[in-house]
């Protein structure tokens, strides 16, 4: 099937089987490889994208449900107005291997759009669906909650 949707503000058409994963279509049809696969079953959040503004795991979204929807990937987020947050994310140690990072920053950006100054608890609630194996989440929380860098 063919469907039309918006990806990072651009109208695109996607072609595939109805149950093909949005994750694969983004990566292989649109070459938006920033969105990563970590588990393929919605457990790790590495493939998180925004669908009409809400974070979803793109490994569990079939092509047939993308028609007419607006999708924002990490590449879109990075081109947008939240650059300062992304730079802080790097500076405060939110990134190590980087495989969970696109999913984490997409989810975090969704949070920060509605809640620009979250507490650690609010940030942790929002990011509960994003597994990170490198950072112990400390650097991530420091960046999302805009805390002071380590002395």
């Amino acid at each position: 099937m063919n469907i039309e949707c918006t990806v990072n503000g651009r109208s695109v058409s996607l072609a595939g089987e109805p149950m093909d994963r949005l994750l694969d279509l983004l990566r292989w049809q649109l070459s938006l490889t920033g969105t990563k696969e970590g588990c393929g079953e919605g457990e790790c959040g590495a493939c998180t994208v925004l669908m009409d503004g809400a974070p979803v795991v793109s490994c569990l979204v079939p092509l047939m449900q993308c028609a007419g929807r607006s999708i924002e990937t990490v590449e879109g987020v990075a081109m947008g107005p939240q650059r300062e947050f992304l730079e802080r994310f790097v500076a405060l140690g939110g990134v190590q291997c980087g495989a969970c990072t696109p999913g984490v920053v997409v989810t975090a950006c969704a949070l920060l759009r509605s809640n620009p100054k979250p507490t650690r608890e609010e940030a942790a609630r929002a990011l509960a669906g994003n597994l990170c194996r490198c950072t112990g989440y400390e650097g991530i929380l420091r960046a999302v909650c805009d805390e002071e860098p380590r002395p």
């Binding site: 588990c39 990937t73 590449e75 790097v90 597994l131 490198c134 112990g136 380590r150």
Partner: protein, 749 residues
């Protein structure tokens, strides 16, 4: 901004947060095909027939052990690990056949068109049953007269401690692409050690070294899991590429990754100790058994590190360590951050807690009384250097947390009102030998190269990969500081065996300390060569920089170097690692200095045990670590924060349950790692005792934090609940079992 001790943003940071960084499965070479692996569903079976129906996917290719070009062995320490099962399979998930097709879906269809018949055999899973099979390896070490020491001790304690499998769960699954470039086999993908794979491909294909090329893409996490296993993956991909004439990618999904790849060795450690009335250690008799799984991979080296860390960071004049890695019919266990040390330090730390209770002192006192000091001897005879910081870490963590008071309060609370007790605190003291074990570094003498580019910049050549730990940031910091360069003066060649020398694997907490040290050397020599030439050929005013080097005032290194390039020519420097002459180790007798130095740490974990569900929730962790001079505080703390959480997961959540050798937790929904909501605030404090053998005084960092978390958690559970967790993970189900069987402090009394 870039100096030693500052934290410049990591150079790959923006690419990673913006999605631009390219990982192994993000690349799409033209004509790419996809591979799939047919695996044994049985733990131990004779393969009686393999049939393939080529009509399902006509263009697909199919490879079995019969198609191998040379030996059927993956070269690591030896080549006993088969590339593909031939006749016998020895674990569930063992590769039996490979297929490749032009699309991922067709590869899966082709794999389904393979039918294999098996005759199942008796399989061995438990360490107790594994005693009947010949071990992968064994060793012993020690000092003094243990039997006499135990006979004269005021009190004897006998304990058994167990730890389970742990799966790495790097977020990027194992991925490798291979192709033939003319006569040369090329493999690129997610890996820690390009030259390990290089060696394995040379061996498997019977090719000369120059006809094999291996390069690392951006690596989405390793933790040791991409040290050994990628060699198997690269050979598989290359076999398929040879069969179909296309580049072939093997990209495991998470399920396959968990089923097939190496894990941390489960361990059983038995300790018999003798102490005097004050709890000072007189003798330690330690028996270590590791579950090596079906094949050897790196088990002997893991076992060696386990044996060398078994007595913990404690002084003991009489020690006997016997260690064996046994065979079971499970996937081979291999490298995982800590490499044998977390298992044995869990054991010795729990044992020290037992001694403390037996002699009536608190966990802090027992550790302080026995902690190693500079000048003390380890069981191998090694004399500890001035950077030995066990006591400093203990005292600092006590100062920051008030551990002793919290511990005492919880002990009192438990006695006066057991029903209300739910909070506890635990302390651990730990150490980690930095760099390869024994003569590893001496045998390898790993090189690092540097050359002058036409524009006056320096290119540094190392084979190290950045799996997230941050050598992409730290190496430039070291080079710039050592050479007195500007940030743009130095570039690093990518880890590609066609470009860089074999500076060793990215493992063993050796990257900053060993390879960073060589980088400092080549950078410094490069600056020396250029400026001394300038001095001999130019007049002018001279100044002394912070490295004590004379340099011309008003002339940058780049200007001088560009001139040198034009007027004299190129410079190429290669420096090989020379371990200090005093670091001698006899690896047959296990005597001498197994490591050039050690890093030190003390953790305090505070937690709550839910009275209804026995679920354990850590509420705060304080980790005081001494890792020599800290090059990049944000990245260094990041290693400790992440390693500490991995240790908390190891202690509480992460468990591989097995049925007939099949892992039941073979998906991310069932293999449970900590989420952000399972994670307490982790406060890291870095003590710095610069060690003269490392660049600017740096020692190893990466593995240290894996050693301390689990025993501190176990002690805190004991403090809160009275239950004695001598086995991890300390799941609520296990806590319930201990509660019901009376394995608690009050019963032991």
């Amino acid at each position: 901004m870039n100096g030693i001790g500052s934290s410049p943003p990591r150079p790959d940071g923006w690419a990673k947060v913006s999605g631009a960084a390219l990982y192994a499965d993000d690349l799409e070479p033209s004509g790419l095909w996809f591979g799939a692996t047919v695996r044994s569903p049985h733990a131990h079976a004779v393969v009686s027939s393999i049939r393939y129906d080529p009509s399902v996917v006509p263009e697909a290719v199919f490879v079995t052990a019969g198609d191998l070009p040379a030996v059927n062995g993956i070269q690591l320490l030896d080549d006993s690990w088969p590339i593909l099962a031939d006749r016998l399979t020895r674990h569930v998930g063992e590769p039996v056949a490979l297929v490749a097709a032009p699309s991922r879906l067709d590869a899966l269809r082709a794999a389904r068109a393979v039918s294999v018949e098996y005759e199942t055999q008796t399989a061995v899973f438990s360490l107790e049953d594994a005693e009947t099979l010949p071990p992968h390896s064994s060793l012993s070490l020690g000092c003094g007269d243990v039997d006499r020491a135990l006979a004269s001790a005021a009190s004897i304690l006998d304990g058994e401690y167990r730890t389970g499998h742990q799966e790495h769960i790097y977020i990027e699954c194992q991925t490798m692409t291979a192709w033939f470039d003319g006569e040369t086999v090329v493999a690129e993908g997610s890996m820690q050690c390009p030259y390990y794979i290089h060696k394995a491909l040379v061996h498997a294909f019977g090719l000369p070294a120059e006809r094999v090329r291996v390069l690392a893409n951006t690596v989405g996490g390793g933790f040791g899991g991409k040290e050994d296993f990628p060699s198997a993956l690269a050979i598989h991909a290359a076999l398929l590429a040879r069969a179909c004439g296309h580049p072939v990618r093997l990209a495991y999904d998470r399920h396959e990754d968990i089923v097939a790849t190496t894990k941390r060795h489960p361990a059983r450690v038995r300790i018999v100790s003798g102490v005097d009335r004050q709890g000072a250690l007189l003798g330690l008799d330690i028996d270590i058994v590791l579950d090596g799984g079906a094949y050897n991979t790196l088990s002997p080296v893991v076992l060696s590190r386990a044996a060398l860390h078994a007595a913990g960071p404690y002084r003991c004049p009489n020690v006997r360590v016997q260690a064996r890695a046994l065979r079971t019919h499970t996937a081979p266990n291999g490298a995982f951050r800590g490499f044998g040390a977390p298992q044995v330090q869990f054991a010795i730390e729990r044992h020290m807690d037992g001694i403390a209770r037996a002699v009536g002192c608190d966990p802090f006192e027992i550790r302080l009384r026995n902690a190693l000091e500079p000048g003390d001897r380890l069981p191998t005879g090694q004399v500890l250097d001035a950077s030995t910081a066990a006591r400093a870490c203990l005292e600092e963590v006590e100062r920051r947390t008030g551990f002793r008071k919290l511990w005492r309060e919880a002990e009192d609370r438990r006695r006066t009102d057991p029903a209300a007790a739910c909070r506890g605190v635990g302390l651990s003291l730990f150490f980690h030998g930095a760099g390869f074990t024994g003569n590893g570094e001496r045998n390898m003498q790993s090189p690092v190269g540097a050359r002058l580019l036409d524009d006056g910049r320096i290119e540094v050549l190392t084979a190290m990969t950045d799996m997230g730990q941050g050598c992409v940031a730290i190496f430039p910091q070291i080079a710039i500081a050592a050479g007195g360069f500007e940030p743009d003066d130095v570039v690093f060649a990518p880890p590609d065996t066609a470009l860089v020398p074999d500076s060793g694997p990215t493992v063993a907490s050796r990257t900053t300390m060993i390879v960073g040290g060589l980088i400092a050397q080549v950078a410094s020599e490069m600056a020396e060569r250029v400026f001394s030439w300038w001095r001999s050929s130019h007049s002018g005013v001279w100044m002394t920089d912070e490295n004590g080097r004379l340099r011309p005032l008003g002339v940058t290194f780049r200007e001088a170097a560009r001139k040198y390039r034009q007027e004299v020519g190129g410079i190429e420097i290669t420096r090989r690692n020379q371990p200090p002459a005093w670091q001698e180790f006899d690896d047959s007798a296990y005597r001498g200095a197994a490591y050039p130095t050690f890093s030190w740490g003390a953790d305090v974990v505070e937690l709550e045990v839910d009275r209804d569900t026995l679920a354990v929730m850590p509420t705060r962790v304080t980790s005081v670590c001494e890792v020599g001079r800290v090059i990049h505080p944000v990245l260094c703390a990041g290693q400790i924060e992440g390693g500490t959480l991995q240790a908390l997961g190891y202690a509480l959540l992460e468990e591989v349950k097995m049925e007939h050798g099949r892992y039941l937790n073979d998906r991310l929904a069932t293999y449970i790692i900590p989420t952000i909501q399972d994670t307490p605030p982790i406060a890291v404090h870095l003590l710095e005792r610069p060690w003269e053998g490392g660049p600017f005084g740096a020692k190893g960092v990466g593995e240290l934090p894996m050693d301390g978390g689990a025993p501190a958690v176990a002690q805190a559970i004991e403090n809160a609940s009275g239950l004695i967790p001598n086995e991890i993970p300390a799941t609520p189900e296990r806590l319930l079992g201990w509660q019901r069987s009376g394995r608690c402090v009050e019963a032991a009394r």
